[in-house]
């Protein structure tokens, strides 16, 4: 099963182009959707999760037209929105059970088992009788995952799931996701580069509604090898460098500024080579150094 998105576009009434001719092919496995806040990630995710309409374009999952056969999609969908609440006065078990019914698990015993299993998997079994109103952010997030996983979905969409999780929970959560990726299409949207680099076999970078890069993370990193250079400068000296070079990122380092620049050759001896990371890929893409075609071809080379 493969999710194919082609030429998807969406413009909001206020004129914002949230999706601008987005085309992606997402195979089974974890797929990272990386982009800054407001890039259009959530719009894309919601559109794929049947909650939003696209102005144009199409998306198919296996043989299903995602934009039209919504009911079909929903039967195989597990969706964890970026932001969601719960009924404060309902217990975790109770609400999960309700969602299980809604997801078509109508057999009483099977439902009970499923709910139990999912509560265990998400480490919520001990608090299953507690009201959701008392849950912490992480617990709530895990509860959301449990809901998303109900009914063994083939398409899992998780929107910024690690925001608000503490480090341990994040690790556990990402582990869970990666296992899911073994037999489902899992789309993970995030603005945290590590999430993608640690988990995803494929990824796309999106900004202002456009896909800037679609690639395998490792191949994309490889493609950058030898093209990223660094230099530490005084904060005040930044301007001339920005004028002279393709600066892709700056970061403070012990009170001074660490520059990363993109260049086919070492700009000058004061620059040191960098072993590129996914973050460099991201910033390179954001800085507009990748064209889509280039990255595609890069991806093809790599695969």
């Amino acid at each position: 099963m493969e999710l194919v998105i082609s030429h998807l576009s969406k413009t909001y009434p206020n004129g914002v182009r949230a999706l601008d001719d987005v085309s992606l092919t997402i195979p089974q496995g974890m797929f990272g959707l990386l982009g800054p806040n407001g890039a259009g990630k959530s719009t894309l995710m919601r559109t794929l999760a049947t909650l939003q309409e696209a102005d144009g374009g199409s998306a198919t999952l296996g043989g299903i037209d995602v934009l039209r056969d919504k009911d079909e999609v929903r039967r195989t969908l597990g969706y964890l929105p970026q932001e969601f609440g719960v009924y404060p006065k309902v217990t975790a078990e109770d609400l999960l059970d309700h969602f299980a019914v809604l997801k078509g698990i109508t057999g009483r015993r099977e439902r009970k088992e499923t709910v139990k299993a999912l509560l265990e998997q998400t480490n919520l079994y001990d608090v299953r009788k507690k009201k959701l109103g008392g849950f912490s952010g992480g617990m709530r997030q895990r509860f959301g995952i449990a809901v998303a996983l109900l009914g063994d979905p083939r398409l899992i969409i998780v929107d910024e799931p690690t925001a608000g999780l503490d480090p341990a929970e994040r690790v556990r959560f990402l582990n869970l996701l990666s296992e899911l990726g073994e037999n489902a299409v899992v789309i993970l949207s995030t603005h945290i580069v590590e999430d993608v680099s640690e988990l995803c076999r494929r990824m796309a970078i999106i900004n202002r509604g456009r896909i800037l890069l679609e690639a395998e993370p490792l191949a994309a990193i490889d493609a950058l090898a030898g093209k990223v250079w660094k230099k530490v400068v005084e904060k005040d000296d930044l301007a001339p460098y920005e004028a002279a070079h393709q600066v892709i990122s700056t970061r403070l380092l012990a009170g001074r500024t660490l520059l990363h620049v993109f260049a086919a050759e070492r700009p000058d001896p004061s620059f040191d080579p960098v072993d590129p990371t996914l973050e460099d890929v991201y910033f390179t893409a954001m800085a507009g150094m990748h064209t889509r075609e280039a990255s595609l071809s890069g991806a093809e080379v790599a695969s």
């Binding site: 999760a49 969908l77 299980a100 997801k103 063994d152």
Partner: protein, 1224 residues
């Protein structure tokens, strides 16, 4: 310090003023106010509404009407206040932005005060739309300008200041406070419900005059206080005065302002900038659980996701639907606020149940239908709030907690959440109906009544009412889903309900286009649901079809996902409109078309559907076309024989009749003008000589026959006719309550009659103008010789011979005036033959029901016997004995004081409560089950109105059936006022003066309220134009006062003399002036002014006692000094008042201490004498033997006085203590 405060206010103002909903609220209220004025102002010909009694003498732009409209709209404004003030702080919680505010250095004062003030200002601005809308309406040119002309700016702004703003402060403070403290919106609604209950409660307590003032204080909106303050305003005053901010109204405003202020201060004191208070309880758990989930290392486990079988078929959808329904239901029912609402409702019902069916302050037995009516009336608003509120909550349930995305992405068809939630809502309604049942039964039991008709409870609560409520809920659901804005949804729902109640007045009268129409009518113990049930069923089926369509529409527009713009929703709706929706639409559409057609066939083909507008047109047309025949010589009916076949099960009757007519005029008559009411169908119309029909105009009920040979003066003629009434299908709104399964009652009004009927003409001048007719006087002048040739109840006859044969179903008894000659059964029907042995008015009735009969006998002092029979519904025995006793007492008094009774029998016959009157026909008194049969007289002080009504109707056997006035002004004085006086005398003899005082208090109240609604002109009693408030209510007071001044003997002597001179008089018929001459003859010159005041003018008093003190005299007695104020007022026909000089004899009374809980004047009388009282303040000194407690002027309210409460004051010891006097 003022920086942050003003900034908060500014921010709040800016926030709301930018919001579109603020302006939508403004627009809605402006538009409503504007349209209401246009509607009442006659902008649309088909619209016939009146607000605050507008029309006639009261101008639409008068201060009074503006006040009433503003007060009413201010109640609806509560929804806006809930939205604006309630959200003012709550939105911070909702947006979880409150920590930012709470941690900023703003003070509590700036935050709360600023928010409150800001939102309040916005709300005040929104409500400014009401006076603006009213003024715009008043200025609109396309209205009937004659209905305007009392405009003042102050008249429109004053209500805003004294009604809208104080109410706003109160409701605003409550909503603001509740939301700020509880951090929830739900308690707001409870607050709203409680306010509405205060309003309803005030309304139900107002019915008892003794409670009025308390009740008026209780209304948080002030409407009932206004009602009390303006209750007696004459039309002229309504056009001129602003409601004075004094007395009850002032106290009401102060009380509720105080409540509002208190609430605000309490909140201010208790409010803390802390983390969510409401979650305190659960916070402990959070910390506890945090450790459970821990942050320590947990070994990764292999993920093994269960792969349960999943089902998406119909069975699974059913399960899902049930799951949603169950969850939604418990969401509502599991919330403690739900019980708060129920508790408030129960409390309210417990109080208002005290008022079951009050009349003259006397309650009725809490029979099941009465309790259901009471619960229904008070619960309707409540249920509406519940339905709208919970619909809103359910529609927004997921979105309110932001679980909607997860929910919307589940693989359930859209109808599942919709239907599930709707089912939950329906279940809640069922539950509430159950609560009502329990309450009803408990109410009955608490009042010592144990005949619980559970079947009736179930049929109404879970049958007719539930059906209507569920249909309403479907519509409410649609509104909330489509509007997709909670408060706007509530507002629209309320407006819809109000409008749907007014639709018929707006000219939209056919039930086919009034959603959820179809009334279950008036339930009667005698006749059950009666003729309403069948049309109710068909209409509701029809609306179920529509409801299905609405449900499909709701489903199409159900918000799922993030697209909430209408364009997208419309596109989605088109997309969703696929096979299941299509099929449902088709089925529903067929249902609607099929049933609609069937209904139309019944209402418009089998029956005649005429709008009020068309009725008006017909009446106007009738006048224009046939007025020329008025006064054309016609023969008079001198004898009537009828054969009436009543078919109760079929709701129809066939009446065959034979009129004997005589030409009593001086001229030959060649044309006969017949009126045959449009609702009967003529089967036969045959004269005993050649005649041709030259005109048949069924629409206007007018027929003309030309006799081949004119009828010569003195000659006779016979007419045989046969008509059918009723029985064809069902009507749009049931008008045939005459012939019914059990309790048929109809009179000669639906049978053929002769001559142009002036009574058909439009009477109301506004309406006449609308149809291009000149205003006309209500009645002919008192001396009009031509008009006096007819009585005021018939125009084609004088005294007639009468004979009737009535048949009915075998289990029923049928009655007509006359004495029963014979009864027999033939062809499975029961026949009764009645004949009257003396001439009667051409005015008779037919009744048929399954009766039980109670018989008795009155024996006069001369040994004459009168048979007394009461035909009543089995189970309604409560007051039958009283009625019989009332008949006997009446016969005693009337025969002794006025003259003999002309018949040998008095029959009282119960009929269903479709009308609530009793009416006297010759020896026959139909008496509604709604007045008296179930009256409950436990307390000796209760006004025994079954007894009184009986006496009144028996008195009509003299006053109307022995002497009857001509068709001129003042004639109803001769029948109604005299019947009223006669009944009072009987009642006083039986119950004493104390009960008469109570009775007269209501009479006086009704007179003053009645005149305040006069649409044409108020007349003195002597010239009364069939105005009930004059001939009944003022008549009672006037006659009672006159008796007090000249004595019962003299008064009765005058009445007797009048009767003797006019018994069974032939035309010209007597008028009130003839009667008045007898009164004048009996009145000493010194009291002539009393007659003038009571009969010739509109005279009122404003007497009051200012203070009273006593000193102990040396001889041990007490001298009371009473300072009184005399005011005498004359009013013109519009109620313009002017003071007149007073030098009148008025009671001065001194009383010993009254028993606890009784009015002051109920104490033992120490002194009661008439004193000459002049205008202005004066002192009266009186010496009494015992210690006085109170004293007053006109303490028994014998004179017409709008402020009766200030006539008596406490007597206090004089400042000087014991006064040494020279007196012995």
């Amino acid at each position: 310090m003022k920086g942050p405060f003003l900034e908060t206010v500014r921010f709040e103002l800016a926030y709301y003023l930018r919001r579109i909903s603020t302006w939508v609220y403004f627009g809605i209220f402006f538009l409503i106010a504007f349209l209401l004025v246009l509607a009442a102002g006659g902008a649309w010909e088909s619209v016939g509404v009146s607000f605050g009694g507008s029309g006639g003498n009261i101008k639409v732009d008068s201060p009074y009407v503006a006040l009433q409209l503003t007060a009413a709209l201010s109640i609806f404004g509560v929804i806006v206040t809930a939205a604006l003030l309630g959200n003012s702080v709550y939105r911070d919680y909702e947006a979880v932005i409150h920590p930012l505010f709470f941690t900023s250095p703003v003070t509590r004062f700036s935050y709360l005060g600023g928010r409150f003030l800001g939102a309040l200002l916005v709300n005040a601005l929104v409500m400014l739309s009401v006076p603006l809308g009213l003024m715009a309406g008043a200025a609109a040119p396309w209205t009937d300008r004659a209905r305007f002309g009392a405009f003042t700016l102050a008249g429109h702004l004053h209500p805003y200041l004294v009604v809208v703003l104080p109410t706003l402060l109160l409701t605003g403070a409550i909503f603001f406070a509740l939301a700020a403290i509880t951090r929830q919106m739900l308690p707001n609604y409870i607050g709203g419900v409680v306010l509405v209950f205060g309003y309803l409660l005030a309304g139900s307590l107002m019915q008892d005059l003794d409670n009025e003032r308390r009740a008026a204080l209780l209304d948080p909106f002030g409407g009932y206080a206004i009602e009390l303050a303006t209750k007696y305003w004459s039309p002229a005053q309504k056009n001129q005065l602003l409601v004075p901010l004094e007395d009850v109204f002032l106290w009401n405003r102060l009380l509720w302002l105080g409540v509002g202020l208190t609430v605000f201060l309490v909140v201010y004191a208790r409010f803390r900038f802390t983390h969510v208070a409401a979650e305190r309880a659960s916070r402990k758990r959070v910390t506890h659980e945090e450790t459970a989930s821990g942050t320590a290392y947990v070994a990764p486990r292999r993920l093994s996701l269960p792969r349960p079988a999943r089902h998406f078929g119909a069975a699974a959808q059913l399960r899902q639907y049930l799951s949603v329904a169950r969850r939604s239901f418990w969401t509502i029912v599991g919330n403690r606020y739900f019980y708060a609402i129920i508790a408030a409702a129960l409390l309210f019902m417990a109080i208002s149940a005290q008022e079951v069916g009050k009349m003259y302050g006397t309650t009725t037995w809490p029979v099941t239908y009465a309790v259901l009516d009471l619960l229904g009336a008070t619960f309707t608003l409540f249920l509406l709030i519940i339905i709208s509120f919970y619909t809103g909550e359910l529609v927004w349930q997921e979105r309110d907690v932001r679980l909607n995305q997860v929910h919307d992405a589940t693989p359930v068809p859209t109808w599942v959440p919709l239907a599930g939630k709707f089912t939950a809502l329906a279940l809640v309604i069922v539950l509430l109906q159950g609560v009502m049942l329990a309450t009803g039964v408990a109410t009955q039991a608490a009042k010592g009544y144990f005949n619980f008709e559970l079947g009736l409870y179930v049929r109404r609560l879970f049958g007719t009412e539930l059906l209507s409520l569920v249909l309403l809920a479907v519509f409410v659901m649609l509104v909330h889903v489509v509007v997709n804005h909670k408060y706007m949804g509530h507002l629209l729902v309320i407006l819809y309900v109000v409008f749907s109640g007014l639709m018929s007045q707006f000219g939209l009268e056919h039930n086919l286009y009034r959603y959820n129409s179809g009334s279950s009518g008036t339930y009667s113990d005698m006749n059950g649901f009666g003729p309403w049930l069948e049309p109710f069923g068909w209409f509701k089926l029809y609306w179920i079809g529509w409801a299905l369509l609405l449900a499909v529409l709701t489903n199409l527009f159900w918000v799922r996902g993030q697209e909430t713009r209408m364009a997208w929703r419309a596109r989605l709706a088109r997309f969703r409109f696929r096979r299941p929706a299509l099929a449902a639409t088709l089925v529903a559409g067929l249902l609607v078309l099929g049933l609609g057609g069937f209904i139309f066939y019944n209402t418009n083909v089998l029956n005649d559907f005429v709008t009020s507008r068309e009725v008006e047109e017909r009446r106007a047309e009738y006048e224009r076309t046939y007025k020329r025949f008025e006064g054309a010589p016609q023969p008079r009916v001198v004898g009537v024989r009828v054969w009436t076949d009543i078919f109760p099960e079929e709701g129809r009757a066939r009446v065959r009749g034979e009129y004997r007519l005589r030409n009593k005029t001086e001229v030959a008559i060649d044309s006969l003008h017949l009126m045959v009411p449009q609702e009967v169908e003529i089967r036969r119309m045959a004269f005993d000589r050649p005649a041709t029909r030259v005109l048949a105009d069924p629409e206007h009920s007018f027929y003309v026959y030309r006799l081949a040979a004119p009828l010569q003066p003195g000659d006779s003629l016979r007419l045989e006719w046969e008509v059918d009434y009723g029985g064809e299908g069902f009507e749009n709104s049931v008008s045939n309550t005459r012939v019914v399964r059990n309790g048929t009652f109809f009179d000669s009004g639906i049978l053929p009659s002769f001559g142009y009927a002036e009574g058909v003409e439009l009477g109301d001048d506004d309406t006449r103008r609308k149809h291009g007719l000149q205003p006309k006087p209500r009645m002919a002048p008192v001396n009009d010789p031509e008009a006096r040739m007819n009585t005021y109840i018939s125009r084609d006859s004088d005294w007639i011979d009468f004979e009737a044969t009535v048949s009915t179903s075998p289990d029923q008894v049928a009655i007509a005036p006359g004495y029963l000659q014979r009864t027999w059964t033939e062809d499975g029907r029961r026949y009764f033959h009645y004949r009257m042995d003396s001439p009667i008015l051409n005015f008779y009735s037919f009744l048929s029901a399954r009766y039980e009969v109670e018989r008795d006998r009155w024996v006069g002092p001369d040994g004459r016997q009168v048979a007394i029979e009461v035909y009543h519904h089995p189970g309604h025995e409560y007051n039958v004995e009283r009625m019989i006793y009332g008949v006997k007492k009446s016969l005693d008094y009337f025969t002794a004081n006025f003259g003999p009774y002309q018949h040998r029998q008095v029959r009282i016959l119960e009929f269903p409560r479709y009308a609530t009157f009793a009416q006297s026909f010759p020896n026959t008194i139909p008496y509604s089950e709604g007045i008296g049969f179930i009256a409950r007289l436990d307390d000796e002080e209760d006004v025994d109105y079954p007894f009184y009504v009986t006496a009144h109707e028996v008195a009509h056997q003299w006053w109307a059936h022995q002497v009857i006035g001509g068709n001129v002004q003042g004639s109803t004085l001769l029948s109604e006022t005299l019947a009223q006086y006669s009944a009072m005398m009987v009642m006083e003899e039986e119950y004493g003066r104390e009960q008469m005082r109570k009775f007269l208090k209501y009479e006086m109240d009704q007179y003053f309220s009645g005149r305040s609604m006069e649409r044409k002109k108020e007349l003195p009693l002597l010239l009364v134009e069939n105005q009930q408030y004059i001939h009944y209510n003022k008549g009672s007071v006037a006659m009672y006062a006159l008796r007090d001044y000249i004595g019962e003997e003299r008064l009765n002597g005058a009445i007797r003399a009048f009767l003797e001179a006019n018994r069974f008089r032939e035309p010209p018929y007597p008028n009130s002036l003839e009667f008045y001459r007898h009164l004048q003859a009996a009145t000493p010159d010194s009291l002539r002014y009393v007659l003038t005041d009571l009969f010739e003018t509109i005279t009122m008093y404003g007497n009051r006692a200012r203070s009273a003190s006593y000193t102990r005299l040396p001889d041990g007695r007490w001298e009371v000094t009473l300072e009184v104020e005399g005011n005498k007022i004359r009013a013109d026909s519009l109620g313009n008042e002017r003071p007149v000089r007073m030098n009148d004899l008025v009671d001065v009374g001194v009383f010993a201490a009254a028993p606890a809980g009784k009015p002051k004047e109920a104490g033992p009388v120490l002194y009661l004498q008439k004193h000459r009282i002049g205008s202005g303040t004066q002192r009266v000194r009186v010496v009494v033997d015992r210690e006085p407690a109170s004293a007053g002027i006109d303490p028994y309210h014998k004179l017409l006085d709008q402020q009766a409460g200030d006539n008596t004051v406490e007597v206090k010891p004089a400042a000087g203590g014991v006064r040494a006097t020279r007196r012995p």
